[in-house]
Symmetry: C2
Subunit: 139 residues, 2 copies
């Protein structure tokens, strides 16, 4: 048996990595409920700190993340999930990875282009499913 | 210009990834001082929450991490550093990655073997440099 070390808010950071390419796609936070939901459904679930509720990644965009492997670190306070990213893009901006901003000489340089238009994807799905979309930032 | 979003403790999680293999090696936390020290020295620095001080990764073991690339995520609240891992192992247990515990059927399975003996590395270095070693857990 093992016991995850959740922080004082009951959360644990979870790194999401593409199971084939090794690309780091995003980091979000799980609570016990979302950790268990991830294992049970084989779809990555987080705890949405902004909406304060269980969040199945991709529930709005359709870009779910299928669990392939799950690892814990030596201190049991970080999760690493290896996933198949449905739809190709993990980021709410439409980028494949949330880490599209590269530091160079004191500035951030945007790498790559969005794979989908977030305004279209989230607007359409939100109306249809009545699910609150994430805040879209300009890219 | 950009502004990192530190949490209420003044910290931001930093994912460390091997710049060639893409392997995720560890996650630790930076404060503003360690973020700036990382950029200035090109060696990865964190804030040690247990020792409550600036921590140059590898200062005791010699296994420093050379900065190759630095990315921020879409919310500016997570750092991704791509590094060259000197000595081959990032984990204080001697494992290459801290994520050597794979979840399977409700249990954790240890993957791979340590590349160095932590008791020898940290004891010897601690005596020599009078630097407090991390707690070594059985592997």
């Amino acid at each position: 048996m093992f016991k995850l070390k959740f922080n004082s808010q009951g959360l644990i950071p979870a790194i999401v990595q593409d199971h084939k390419s090794g690309e780091v796609l995003m980091l979000a936070y799980m609570n016990e409920e979302s950790f268990n939901a991830t294992l049970k459904t084989k779809k990555i679930h987080f705890y949405s700190r902004s909406r304060k509720k269980l969040w199945c990644k991709g529930e709005t965009s359709g870009n779910i993340q299928k669990l392939k492997e799950l690892y814990l670190d030596c201190d049991l306070d970080t999760v690493l999930v290896k996933v198949e990213q449905v739809g190709g893009a993990a980021c709410h901006t439409g980028h494949r990875s949330c880490f599209y901003s590269k530091y160079k000489g004191g500035k951030l340089k945007i790498c790559g282009k969005p794979l989908f238009n977030p305004n279209k994807v989230y607007k359409a799905k939100s109306k249809k499913n009545d699910v609150q979309s994430h805040k879209i930032k300009p890219v």
